[in-house]
Symmetry: C2
Subunit: 202 residues, 2 copies
């Protein structure tokens, strides 16, 4: 019944689940095995070590989520709408725990350049995703020449990371909801400013 593929899948899921609930310090081989209800030794047989399993699982998960989210972003060409989609992503990810897992691994890979490199590879798609999302609203406004879209994309992703980080720490989660409302308003202001510029080239 349980072929080799099932056990690998099971371990990867259990690894991320444990990472999100217990943190990097609590994510031991034994804890992962308990979560996935498999034998502890299989982690080393299939992945070679705990950290290898964690990175493998996190990178795959990150890529899949980025790909899945691409659909939501394509076709969005106005800034307030973009801010709204961003808010949904934030809320969804906050409960799903993607950024949280990422932060835990970021801490876990300290002093291990090879693991850090692998982690980065799983994260990069998000920057590319935001870059292509920003390209639309900025197209033909003149600002796409004036402000490097690459830098903006990097900043937006960094902003998201930071917000989710702080959101998890802040005892009274007050600011975040208001925050995205502000972003939407800000998007509206900018849109009113950019929109006429676009039409000059239409």
């Amino acid at each position: 019944m349980t072929n080799r593929s099932d056990t690998r899948r099971n371990l990867m899921d259990a690894a991320l689940e444990t990472l999100k609930s217990e943190g990097i310090k609590g994510t031991t081989a034994r804890a992962i095995a308990a979560t996935g209800d498999v034998n502890q030794a299989l982690i080393f047989y299939h992945f070679g070590g705990v950290m290898d399993l964690l990175i493998t699982a996190a990178v795959e998960d990150s890529r899949l989520r980025a790909e899945r989210f691409r659909a939501h972003l394509e076709g969005v060409s106005e800034l307030p709408e973009l801010a709204e989609v961003a808010r949904q992503l934030h809320e969804h990810d906050l409960e799903e725990g993607g950024v949280s897992a990422f932060t835990q691994l970021l801490a876990g890979t300290a002093g291990d350049p090879e693991m850090a490199k692998r982690l980065w590879d799983g994260f990069e798609p998000w920057i590319e995703l935001v870059r292509s999302s920003l390209a639309g609203p900025l197209a033909n406004t003149g600002f796409d020449k004036l402000l490097p879209v690459d830098d903006l994309a990097y900043s937006v992703v960094a902003l998201f990371m930071g917000i989710e980080l702080l959101d998890r720490l802040d005892p009274d989660r007050s600011p975040t909801e208001a925050l995205f409302t502000t972003f939407t308003q800000l998007g509206g202001l900018l849109e009113g400013f950019l929109s006429p510029l676009r039409q000059q080239d239409a």
Copy 2:
């Protein structure tokens, strides 16, 4: 020669140094003791436990750095200058490792609400600091009414956290220098827009 105060100080310094170089997983009682060249048992005598020591040291350090930085920000009333100060803070902190230590502790306090609360207390001053720095340039522009300064401050701090996080992970640290140049340019653009508004009330 070594009174009790010296040992506490020594341990707190050694704890942060170890945290920055070894990460949360490598920051054990023995490693800290070795860094500070003191006996391992003294950590438990003076602080009760490793995590207590780390939080105590990090919160004190964070508060002191925020206070020290306040002087650099006071008197800055134009956005490009603000961006420049921000760049300096980023560079300084990147090599000093304040945000890095914070991230490690963020990961370390996962699932421990009491420690998380203490960590947050050490972090809050930064948000307050940014809030008062933004208040100046936005004063009397009309935007201080339109856009909640609290949300902006929170966002700016989150952005910084995120940038430093990614900067440490990105294998080729390419974007960051360019990033702050972009911020300064952006500040210039906005300043040119806000400046005339301010003079209406002067």
